[in-house]
Symmetry: C2
Subunit: 271 residues, 2 copies
């Protein structure tokens, strides 16, 4: 397999350039790719050192520099030495310059301004951690989103992903015969989402988890009949509540989260 | 202030296009921007409906389509109607086509393949939630990163952000006179990071938190002398451990996280 080395250069953390590189790479099947990030590159001399290294390693260069002198330097260097590159920031800066008739402020990392929305996001993350796993039923009443589902339907990572989009999320595992907290019945069903999965996929995931724990994978936890019974129980609860049900089988956290924000008609506040 | 409407179009969730738009916008000071996401646009007819809406609202169009027919449609439409647009996906697809001499697989959302790294990420998120706030000292021994810091130095969101980059993180709040768990002294100091902050910023953050709670903001919790004593105590612990200390004042979670991954020489696995 062709080995590909990608250098991510940025005067901030390089997250956006990394995401764009990964989005491209994902469309080309199995590739042997190594990503290397060079964040906080804010001087021409440091930049030249990194570029010399890129040339030596025949790397592909993805970059986001808010300083146009630095992004120009990268582009000129890559063109001169025939290194493939993607300047992620310049088109979006040009676009906003055109609309606002202003020049960019050239402040790296400005995206992460410590504004109110930023603190709201931190509060939402802490909320998700506090009210994970039905820990405290009071959370259901304050939450923007309540997730219900049997074990291994990605309630926790989904809660945190949504928190990162400024939503306060509480989740509750559904276990047959366990009592559903009264608070659930006081929540607007539009805020509640039932997570389900295919029995086969749950079986595979749960077996893997048992193996990770160094336990026998063939326990009641991964028994397909038991899983089907759990899912059927969850289904009756979802029907009783009248909430939207999402089957997370073969869906990524991002996709499930987007179905939820769409259903809520939720638009993330500006960061 | 000029009102700007940005439409984010994608055949997947639109996260990358949203990030690029925000990175551009952040460089132009105060703007009155509304973002609206249109995820999972996978047919020409749905696309045309959204584009007609964009035209009606004079929106700026950011898009990521792995289907080149759809991205071409957007670009042609925007050019014909003089709508500003940014095609985030095509340059990265062209770049990989050039290197691999292959055509993209045109599978939307492929970025979020449910591979081993994906499950590792979910495990890391669950780890961070389980071992948040010093809940169980056993976590310190299994963690890739241990965060120590006084209250309001963003330990929890930082733990989750690093978890999202596949690192297992446990954190411990430092409270003067409280016992430090023995496990901390068994951890490689290179894995430990001490978080500190400026007393003034901590005072502001803590006062705000008290107000949020509907409490008097002028408590011992936000008293500057007490805060200084807490920070001094934390400092002696950091020195005793011999760990790297990061002052999070005016740093975003992303920036602090990047300082940590750089210090570890950590390269995120491919997603």
């Amino acid at each position: 397999m062709q080995a590909i080395k990608i250098f991510i250069l940025s005067d901030s953390v390089g997250e956006t350039a990394h995401a764009v590189a990964q989005a491209g790479a994902a469309q080309f099947g199995d590739l042997d790719i190594t990503y290397q990030r060079f964040p906080f590159v804010r001087t021409e001399s440091l930049l030249q050192t990194v570029l010399a290294q890129a040339l030596k390693e025949h790397a592909i260069v993805y970059h986001t520099f808010v300083d146009r002198k630095l992004s120009q330097s990268v582009n000129v260097f890559c063109q001169a030495h025939d290194l493939p590159y993607n300047d992620v920031m310049t088109p979006t800066l040009d676009l906003f310059s055109g609309i606002t008739h202003r020049q960019p402020v050239n402040k790296p990392g400005k995206m992460h301004d410590l504004n109110t929305n930023y603190f709201d996001r931190i509060n939402a993350i802490e909320f998700a951690v506090t009210y994970d796993d039905g820990k405290n039923p009071a959370g259901f009443l304050d939450a923007d989103v309540v997730l219900l589902g049997v074990s291994r339907t990605s309630k926790t990572p989904l809660s945190l992903y949504l928190a990162n989009r400024n939503l306060k999320v509480a989740n509750l595992p559904l276990v047959p015969k366990a009592q559903i907290p009264d608070e659930i019945w006081q929540v607007d069903p539009k805020k509640i989402f039932g997570l389900t999965n295919d029995p086969e996929q749950l079986n595979t995931i749960r077996r893997e988890r048992m193996i990770q724990y160094g336990l026998n994978p063939d326990t009641v936890y991964s028994n397909t009949d038991k899983i089907k019974a759990e899912l059927a129980y969850a289904d009756t609860i979802f029907k009783k509540i009248g909430c939207l049900v999402i089957n997370v089988a073969n869906k990524s956290i991002e996709e499930t989260a987007t179905l939820i924000t769409e259903s809520l008609g939720y638009n993330e506040p500006n960061r």
